[in-house]
């Protein structure tokens, strides 16, 4: 699913890092076609990418949040005011009307690509 429906451009895969740059549970931020993307590898190996901009603090910090699951949803918590965002949909659990953009992720060999 792609939450950036207002972007006319068709996203293209951008090579951002090596799989080993992603330690389980520790996010990184990548610059992909001018956009800041927060990328996380979870315990189960799945890789998720969402916007790095925290809508509540207006700071680019989402990649520095802690990941986990809440009632079955994989989430990241903003490091500033601690709201949780669903990594699959971008939706904020505390304020469902707010969402982060979600980016597609592809792994080819040991490289990670973000659809940006």
């Amino acid at each position: 699913m792609n939450a950036r429906s207002n972007l006319a451009e068709v996203p293209v895969p951008v090579d951002v890092c090596h799989v080993s740059d992603l330690l389980p549970g520790i996010g990184v931020c990548a610059l992909a076609r001018g956009q800041q993307v927060a990328i996380f590898r979870l315990r189960d190996g799945a890789i998720h990418a969402v916007g790095n901009h925290d809508p509540f603090s207006a700071a680019n910090v989402i990649s520095r949040g802690l990941t986990g699951d809440l009632k079955g949803r994989k989430v990241v918590a903003s490091p500033i005011y601690k709201q949780h965002f669903d990594l699959a949909t971008g939706q904020c659990l505390e304020a469902p009307e707010v969402a982060l953009p979600v980016y597609g992720v592809q792994v080819e060999g040991d490289r990670v690509f973000v659809l940006a």
Binding site: C17, P24, C29, Q36, H53, V61, R64, P79
Partner: protein, 847 residues
């Protein structure tokens, strides 16, 4: 003005105020307009805890008025307004200023005044009493100009006053007319033990002394001449020889009075006039005045019921049993303490080496308890009181109730379960076991909620252990599992998690999750587990398996600010810093364009560092001799110090040296919440140590140790844990205290809240830390020593490890920096730009 009927209340003391609260809580109170006349310059305060004023509580701390009570409840409070006359026929009250106020109902709650025996010289300068905050101010001032103080009266209040004088540094004497101390509550044996204990504390006791006159002394301000010919020189005299009801209004108005004073009331607390009530210490019920607050509160409730026709309650007398701590000596007195009931028989237990005296008085048939005296050990108080109040049948060997438990055998007692529903649990607030049970049924599952719902344990606190037991036992009976789950991933409290880690020798979050949890974890259980692992094993917190558990502050070893930049706080132990150190910090700040500020914790904070700048900044600070200040961690922040004996003319110990020692010893240790300490060089307390988790104040002989203070959202004064300690004992107690806190506190629970929730309170904490009652002292010390021995500066370890340094960059795939971090100049430094400024990009500073 209004068609409401008007209640005028004379006196806003403890009981008068309880009446206002009771009224406001009853349906139907809206029908009344309430006017309160208060002679004192401030509304009701807690007289029972008055002495705390000397140990630092302020008038505001002691206030009994909740929030904006008078406005919210629409009650008119007139401070500094004394009522001088009542006109029963016209139904008016006249104030000292000459104002006349009409009433429909009048409530007299004028309390009592301290009785001063009319001996010649009683009104000399520095002859004082102990009843109001103003009295205490006069005593403080008087003590400053005195060396010796005498308290006249060896009753409950007199001994409390004596403690106050002793704490103010005076050589203290107690002069009592009767042949023993606390003549009303104790028997000869108990009084003798109490006397020995009090004398051991340096207070001289003179019993059987009748003061004939007070005249000018030779070596001191006064001399007291006694009828027996003895004399005693002193600078200050405090009369505490009993109370007399302030019944002058009743007398003037022609109400029915007792032969020896007091306004006569019936079971509804009505006086001889059907529109005038009297409650509290001014009321004479069934020939007696109750000089305690609990019976007064019951009267207040009765009148509130009566006026609003809420219930037909009646005042039916009150139990005068008391339990208290006098100068650190536990004393309890229950019912017929003297054994005056015909046929009564007594059991005694006397332990001379430990100065413990216990006696119970039982009925002629040996079936019921009539009374008890306890000195030095009052553990049995709650149990004995319930036996007496509920006329419960005694066990076959009643003496078991006062014999010490030996060889692990459980001490004889009654479980909270055995108490009947009618049992009164909190006498101050008249809360029965039934009240507590219904509050639990209504959803009060925690002690705090229960206190709010029932008011039990909110006054003298004597019942709090019992309230806690009932809660536990009732919850068990209802099959309620007392839920303390950390989060959805771990069905355990933090304390249980700690135990699992330690006992199971668990080393990582993954292992913990596998063995005891479910799911992936979250931003609650990850940092909590990380903190527990650190408190137990003290691994480097950025080890790969721990790094993903840390909040961003711990992960980047810096505090994230609102714009995503970080602050840098180098440790400056005790607030001491060399000129070279300051220059180095200044140079770093200048080089990286960091906003520089002195913190509230006696050190320097550098703000506005980008994540990629942190390693370079820290390399330079480390080269200049600095270490991580752990401003980011749930760990020791600062040990605030005053300059102490090295420079200060008043200092009695080297407070800076001790602060530095403490800060270096405890730095880096991870705890349930942050920790702050303070060390002052003398009693003037310039380091504000009593506002810290651990406060140390120098004395002539060593150090006084205070614990569980807090500034912040809900300030709390620290409490004295132990006094006059040498350096080694001080450290030993702090070690034990910290480790006990680390083991047992909840997540993000400061020591103050931990202490407030502790069953058994300060006494229990003292028992564990000072008396090692759990026998874990050595283990706590060893665990803490392990943390001290394995300390490493996290920043030093980080800058030495190239792998770790890779994480300190904004983009994984670019060396660019975050263009959203924008500063503007202000007062010669930088600050984050507002979003408007960012959009305009005017006057911003490149970073």
């Amino acid at each position: 003005m209004s068609s409401k009927s008007r209640i005028v209340v004379v006196g806003n003391g403890m009981v008068g105020h309880k009446f206002l609260e009771a009224l406001a809580a009853r349906p139907g109170h809206e029908a009344f307009e309430v006017v309160v006349l208060c002679e004192e310059p401030r509304p009701a305060y807690d007289r029972v805890y008055l002495s705390a004023y000397f140990s630092g509580k302020t008038a505001a701390d002691l206030s009994l008025v909740q929030g904006d009570f008078f406005n919210e409840k629409n009650m008119a409070l007139r401070l500094n307004t004394k009522a001088v006359a009542i006109d029963k026929a016209a139904k008016t009250v006249t104030t000292a200023a000459g104002e006349t106020i009409g009433y429909d109902k009048l409530v007299l709650a004028t309390g009592s005044y301290p009785f001063v025996p009319p001996v010649p010289g009683h009104d000399r300068e520095h002859c004082l009493v102990y009843r109001t905050i103003e009295d205490l101010e006069a005593i403080k001032a008087g003590a400053a100009a005195s060396k010796v103080g005498v308290v006249v009266g060896g009753g409950l209040l007199g001994l409390e006053a004596a403690k106050a004088l002793r704490d103010l540094g005076l050589e203290t004497h107690v002069v009592e007319f009767a042949p023993r101390l606390m003549a009303v509550q104790l028997d000869d044996g108990g009084a003798a033990v109490l006397r020995r204990k009090i004398e051991a504390l340096g207070v001289k006791v003179h019993t059987g002394k009748n003061t004939k006159e007070i005249v000018t002394g030779e070596t001191h301000r006064h001399v007291m001449n006694f009828a027996c010919g003895d004399r005693l020189e002193t600078d200050l005299i405090l009369f505490s020889a009993g109370i007399r009801p302030r019944d002058e209004l009743g007398r003037q108005a022609g109400l029915e009075m007792g032969a020896r004073g007091g306004i006569v009331v019936n079971n509804a607390c009505l006086t001889s006039d059907p529109d005038i009530y009297a409650i509290g210490e001014v009321a004479l019920w069934s020939g007696r005045i109750y000089g305690l607050v609990a019976p007064g509160y019951q009267m207040a409730n009765v009148v509130a019921d009566h006026l609003t026709a809420s219930a037909a309650t009646e005042f039916a007398g009150a139990d005068m049993s008391t339990k208290l701590k006098l100068m650190g000596v536990d004393v309890g007195s229950i019912g017929d303490a003297q054994g005056a009931t015909p046929g009564a028989q007594s059991y005694y237990y006397i332990d001379e080496p430990n100065e413990i005296y216990k006696k119970i008085v039982v009925s002629a048939d040996g079936k019921t308890l009539l009374g008890a005296v306890l000195v030095g050990d009052v553990e049995a108080y709650g149990t004995l009181l319930q036996f007496m109040l509920n006329k419960m049948e005694l066990p076959a060997h009643p003496d078991a109730l006062i014999l010490p438990a030996r060889d692990g055998s459980a001490s004889a007692g009654i479980g909270a379960d055995a108490l009947p529903l009618t049992a009164q649990i909190c006498s101050c607030n008249n809360v029965s076991k039934a009240d507590i049970c219904s509050a639990i049924d209504a959803g009060a599952m925690e002690i705090g909620d229960l206190k709010t719902a029932t008011k039990a344990a909110t006054s003298c606190g004597g019942c709090s252990a019992l309230v806690g037991q009932i809660l536990k036992c009732e919850l068990q009976k209802r099959g309620v599992e007392v839920k303390k789950d950390l989060c959805e991933h771990f069905p355990y409290s933090r304390q249980e998690m700690f135990h699992l880690v330690k006992v199971g020798r668990i080393r990582s979050f993954e292992e913990m999750l596998e063995k005891h949890g479910r799911g992936d974890g979250c931003d609650i259980c990850k940092p909590t587990t990380a903190s527990i692992l650190a408190s137990t094993w003290n691994d480097y917190i950025l080890k790969n398996e721990h790094a993903g558990l840390q909040d961003t502050n711990d992960y980047f070893l810096a505090n994230m600010q609102k714009d995503g930049t970080y602050s840098v706080v180098p440790r400056m132990p005790g607030g001491e810093v060399t000129p070279e150190g300051l220059i180095a910090v200044g140079q770093v700040a200048k080089k990286y364009n960091l906003y520089t500020k002195i913190t509230g914790g006696q050190r320097v904070d550098l703000f506005g560092a980008r994540v990629d700048q942190l390693p370079a900044i820290w390399s330079e600070l480390i080269a200049a001799g600095f270490e991580s200040g752990h401003a980011y961690g749930k760990s020791l922040r600062t040990v605030k110090s005053c300059v102490g004996s090295t420079w200060c003319r008043y200092g009695v110990q080297d407070s800076v040296g001790m602060a530095i020692h403490l800060e270096k010893r405890y730095r880096g240790i991870r705890s349930p919440h942050k920790l702050k300490m303070g060390v002052s060089g003398c009693t003037r307390e310039c380091a504000e140590a009593q506002g810290k988790d651990v406060g140390v104040i120098a004395t002539e002989k060593g150090w006084n140790l205070y614990v569980c203070g807090n500034g912040g959202m809900k300030p709390r004064h620290a409490e004295l844990l132990a006094g006059d300690l040498d350096d080694a004992t001080l450290l030993r107690y702090i070690d034990r205290f910290l480790m006990f806190y680390i083991r047992t506190a909840d997540r993000l629970q400061r020591t103050s809240v931990w202490r407030d929730n502790m069953e058994g309170g300060l006494d229990y904490l003292k028992d564990v830390v000072v008396n090692d009652s759990l026998g874990i002292g050595a283990e706590l010390e060893a665990d803490l020593q392990h943390l001290v021995d394995t300390y490493q500066c996290e920043w030093k370890s980080t800058v030495e490890d190239p792998e770790k340094l890779k994480r300190f960059r904004h983009f994984v795939n670019s060396d660019k920096t975050d263009d959203n971090v924008v500063f503007v100049p202000e007062r010669g430094q930088v600050r984050p730009a507002t979003s408007a400024e960012k959009q305009g990009r005017i006057g911003t500073v490149a970073v």
